[in-house]
Point group: D3
Chain length 330, copies 6
């Protein structure tokens, strides 16, 4: 797929792109004319695109998550760029296009991250834990794990996000093991690797990031604890207390009951994992929110609900000299 990313285009640019349908709705004007209102995007951004005629096939068969081939031009409407559509058709099998390629994606190299993760498994000393990890991260599941996002929209909400997030936590936990040799490294790193694995069933990520029915009814925490328990039961002689402590890490990793953990952290490894998870998640989330939501001509975003504040981008290099003049109070 050889096409410039949507967020690089400017007004009056020609467009001849495959794009993913993010919203689609048949609407009428007050005067009674029908038109098809869509939002189309690639991994870089999305734009509105209204079609005023010749949309009957798309209207009938197209749905969110489908890919379309669009020609037209970029125009501006009420301060935003949108697509003036010349033609639009659904992608065909022979176009050989995957919807997933239009989803946002990690900026880190996935092969490198996979290699890192595999090394981390090898670094586990305890034989039974290592065996357990190898069973859980079998080929099929590892592929899913390496593809999944870590969330629907808040943090690491992109393809390979779960892998990227997990690697960050592992490294933070390793640093904590340096500070505190009393920590059981094998247990803690195994817990870090497994804590969010339930997300590969909680979320669907083929053509959009959505919660599955199982995700809503059961949740990734219990999904993960079930999976780990299944595999533990297949390993003869796996110590019961080790199993309970590993599952405790998974269950308690959101730190508080009101964050949907059914137990709070009760071991030093559990509190380390929870705080490392918070650190990785929050920094990623704030960084992305600041990038995405900065108001025009401002160093401030709009109000971000999950942060319960507006956010500020500090750019030292932009400090002009007159920033240093004394204010009344300084």
């Amino acid at each position: 797929m050889n096409q410039p990313e949507l967020n690089t285009l400017i007004k009056n640019d020609r467009i001849d792109h495959f794009l993913l349908i993010r919203k689609i709705e048949l609407r009428s004007t007050k005067s009674g004319n029908d038109f098809l209102s869509t939002e189309l995007g690639d991994k870089s951004t999305s734009m509105n695109a209204n079609i005023w005629e010749g949309f009957s096939e798309i209207a009938a068969r197209g749905k969110v998550g489908d890919v379309v081939k669009v020609t037209g031009t970029i125009e501006e409407y009420q301060g935003s760029l949108q697509i003036r559509v010349a033609s639009m058709r659904l992608a065909l099998e022979k176009d050989n296009i995957r919807a997933r390629d239009f989803l946002p994606i990690s900026k880190r190299n996935p092969e490198e991250m996979k290699k890192e993760f595999t090394q981390k498994i090898k670094s586990i000393f305890d034989k039974q834990l290592k065996k357990l990890l190898l069973e859980i991260f079998n080929e099929t599941r590892f592929e899913l794990f390496c593809t999944a996002p870590a969330g629907k929209s808040w943090h690491h909400a992109y393809i390979h996000g779960l892998l990227e997030h997990t690697l960050e936590i592992i490294k933070v936990c390793e640093l904590m093991c340096e500070f505190h040799p009393e920590l059981n490294r094998d247990l803690l790193i195994s817990g870090a690797m497994l804590h969010d694995i339930g997300k590969i069933e909680e979320l669907s990520f083929d053509s959009a990031f959505e919660y599955t029915d199982k995700g809503k009814l059961v949740g990734h925490i219990v999904i993960a604890s079930n999976l780990v328990r299944d595999e533990i039961k297949k390993i003869p002689g796996f110590p019961t207390e080790l199993g309970n402590n590993l599952i405790h890490l998974i269950l308690s990793h959101q730190g508080k009951l009101e964050h949907a953990s059914p137990v709070v952290p009760k071991t030093v490894e559990a509190i380390a994992l929870y705080q490392a998870d918070e650190l990785s998640a929050k920094v990623n989330a704030y960084k992305n929110a600041i990038e995405a939501e900065l108001k025009p001509d401002s160093n401030w975003t709009k109000f971000i609900h999950l942060a319960d504040t507006d956010l500020h981008k500090f750019n030292l290099r932009e400090n002009s000299e007159d920033n240093t003049k004394k204010s009344l109070f300084d």
Copy 2:
């Protein structure tokens, strides 16, 4: 075991009883004499019993949950009854005494309750749910389920309490099905039966009601969902969505995240189960707290933390005539 219950004895009564050790501690007086301070009880109540000599064997080998044979008399100290010990020895094998017989026990007939519960299983129409219930409530597990308390101290905290509590919920849920034929009765009643089954692993109840390590690290909600899922996997063709909904009932039955449910109720069956559980638990808990904690010469208990108030016992028959005289405001 043919002995009068402890709460029927009064000052100066002779005592020749098997009793359970609830607390035991070797202490010294300021003047340096050692004595053994114990709290002994049967299913009706507990009393303090200090031993001033001849306690070396008990002090060395006795522990909480053991049964002792005690002789002596009942005396009063600072307004409470206690045991003046003449002799005390640990129960022997040949005494044929079970510690569990000294734990508080439901006032309802256990055989009758078991029969009721078995009838309820038979009333399930859906074949796969009924098969699942029969597998889960196999002989061994049913025995445990029928013996366990429903809690450590707050509600239905006595032998057979889990069975009694579960039956109450089932009946409340059946009433809700009468009001709302839209409810899926098979699903709801199955959920009611299974919602607290994790308590047979969360609590130990051989000689005291205590949380197990697994109970603290994993919790009865996830223990139950694991058990149900294991048995579902053994039943070929068990519908996935039915399984997810049944597990949802178990996971959400405490109603709120901050009450340790990892998901909140999202179906009408789930909200019915949660509210029925609350109703059964709270009424039992308040009734027992009022019975146990009423202050002397008062219709009020001390402050009850779990209710966040003191509680009142209303006794219509005690209204003397002068209660009806008009107050200033009436």
Copy 3:
């Protein structure tokens, strides 16, 4: 009034109906033409209806809660049905139409419910409580009580809803009395009957469900306690403590201070009433929300604020075979 219910009509159906005005506003198009924008409904549902000419009388005199006679056809606009108006006039006295007949109404038979309720009063054993109930539920007030909704929009929010809700609670409380003979049945059932009677003054329900000024400034809890106290004072020799306990049931029936109860439940009867109320209200509310808010082609509703989640409709019969195929985790 012999006309098909609005929710049975489909596109292109002719309409010749009396309907209730739920919203009415005179608006202009950008091009400066005035039109009358209304929402019209009967007890089954509501639809938008814009009138482009000949609306001067309605615009001048019509208001929310009035009934109009409308002719026209059903048409579709942006995925919803609406009314294309041919003619519209205000209902005349001789049309003999009551606005209340257009409000949502309980599916249960009101006469049957009244009979049940009257039987429950007769079942009260205590003479003074029974006398009190008969005075309170005198003819006028009983009629109002049997007509009122139990709420503005959340649960039992339809004509006869208060009666239906009260009967449910009475039956749940009777079941609790079976479990706990210690409960004072006369007190509890009387409290159940009276707990929400303040709603007949808190809400108006002639042509819409709205809070009255008194409802907002005083609230149904204090309104009810005032009413009960007035009638108690008329009964010579009514026991003071019985009166205080009955009023306590009314005041505490919302269970928590933050739910606007000025005292929390302090008796076992009070906690039973609160939990029975919750059970009846929540199950009704969730059932109705699921019915009303299910998204098209989905088993999930939109996000429901009062439940703080989206809700799920489980329909066993819809499980197709491929629901049983094993997922990765099952």
Copy 4:
């Protein structure tokens, strides 16, 4: 009663006093001797007093709230003063002693406060409100109102405290009326006068400050609203909306649902009354807590739970010179 106040006595002083029993309990020493443990006090403070012999009559008949005649000496035990009892007998009718005279009492002159309050009633312009106030504050009720404390222990918890507290609020409200002529002064001042009148039934204050049964089951807010409503009903033509607004002031004066107000303030008068009440109550409570709980040789109290902090007494005159030496940061 001509005796020095208890808090003026020091070690080795002789004592020949009438004192109020605040606690009384028959206890035994470890060695089996009985003694009577009491706490005795007057309006200034309380002290422990143990009696080792000759206490049989007191033990049998004395109870909290009774007055006793005590002789003995003041001694020190574990850093606190206590009474070494030589003799103790219950007060006799002929002693002509009232238990209430031993309760803490306002430092303000009660007659002066009554006069002020009566003037404030006269200042009400609206005839019906003034009539209502005169009916409510009839001779009997006014006497009770002028005697009652405003609380059990937190603020204005002394005889005449309710009157003192109410006068403070009235003056604060008058100041607010100066700032905001839009406020309805008659309504606001009447609401201020009546807001806590329910406390004369919520609390008993003959020989101790305790909640009554009615106080616990109904609460002073609803007691007051009932009283006001009764008297309003006796006044022909009293405007309904005025009545609802006055009762709204009473019901909402604790400002938040979680503080037991069944409605929150919805008028500008209601918010003024709530905030004036908070101001009067908190300043009085903090002042008294600082006086009563200052740690020895410290300007800090112990931790005060209702303030959720320890409190500080600032005394400018105690600043020694070396307070002014510069710290590292200053």
Copy 5:
């Protein structure tokens, strides 16, 4: 500037006004025509004004906070008044117009308030506190202080609002000193004067009320404590403990950690200041919200989020006779 206030104009009135731009946006109709959508206002109110041609200069150079000269007529659209623009140009230097004159302004006389405030400084007895106040309220800073609003939108959100609010608090605190001679008046009144002075840097108020960057990153509480500390350090021999207590008043004046005070009130002066601030702020806020948000033909406002309720305007004189007819319950 001699022009009638905007809120005195009615439909069809001619307009020839300077007005402040409150919102400005270039938009297009569906049919592709551009127009300029603005909201224009003076200190009394704001109105929408769309311009369909001849707006290129304004669109290019005009921004929020600029003043424009507008001619045209008042017209009505969807129930609201708006301006039909005949001509619009940006104000010129020679027009000699200040944006600030278009901001809402206190109804109290500013010179009178300044005089009052100056008198209050003179009333401080302690020499060092008085010196400190005179330094802080030097000419430049006093001018700013007397101009600033006390908030962005909730209470005293108008020019001179900070001065008006501070004077109210001073008077309430003086009243508290009358009730409680134990209060340190000098400390308390100084704290009242300084508590919100940080707002002159937290907010900008030249042409709109907005938070500054420093206001968002540091906040008015810490800004004020910094300012006071700077000036204290310039006064030799200023008592350390006095300084700490004064800064404590500033830091704790929002009363609760969750209201952004970094310490809670720990002295009786601190609790008095906090409660006086609440009283002044809330009454002003409710009064203004009721004025601004009353629904047409109603004594109720829309739902006010900061009050968490709708608000009610009580107008005794509007009570018609039929308000006094008895309702069922009265």
Copy 6:
């Protein structure tokens, strides 16, 4: 000071030690004999020590924080070790003993930590930030900073704890900079270094860890922001926005208003610092709590209030074989 640490002694050991007075109180027995009750300790632990005679000088002059010379033996009382005192005297000047040497102390080498910290300052690239840090960490202040504990009792509550805690946070922040090159490393690391520097004035740590008056009235957050601001003002041309952002890091580092931060984190650097602080503090606190509070013969501590749970120590090596036997559910 060459004496075995207190926690290495066992029953019957001789003692001839300098120890710190942690508690001291003159008490009497019931029989009227005075004795001196003390708690004495060194950096390893504390023990009770009662003195029955010859304590008059200590009782008169000794106070918490003084060092005494004690001889005697270790004995056991009610399961705990205590000191049977033979002689006790206050330490003399010539003994050359510092109270601080008896306080708990970091296990890390302080010189090594100082060197690390100095290196981190050197690693700051921005000249003005580096200059600021060098000024703040001047010789006197650096010495204090390197000695202070990071808290009174919860985390890093030992000599050098503040330095140890700060170094941990710096390293975690450096790791975050590796993950996110967008982070401003100079700003973040400077903020980490300074965030808790206010603790050197908030706490006293000469002979015990206690809050100072300034600590309670102002708090370490505002103390630190004041200090940093003072030093910034001395550096000509220090960029205003850089200063505001650095102070924002300090003010927001406790992450939430209810944790006493007057502003919440609004930049990505601020959220990183907050989460790194939480991680370092919680893991240290849990580790120490588990070490200190483990119940005898148990892997569980008592209930830890700040963690709101009991805590568990997992020791893989203790897993006996029978831990692996299958439970009913596994």
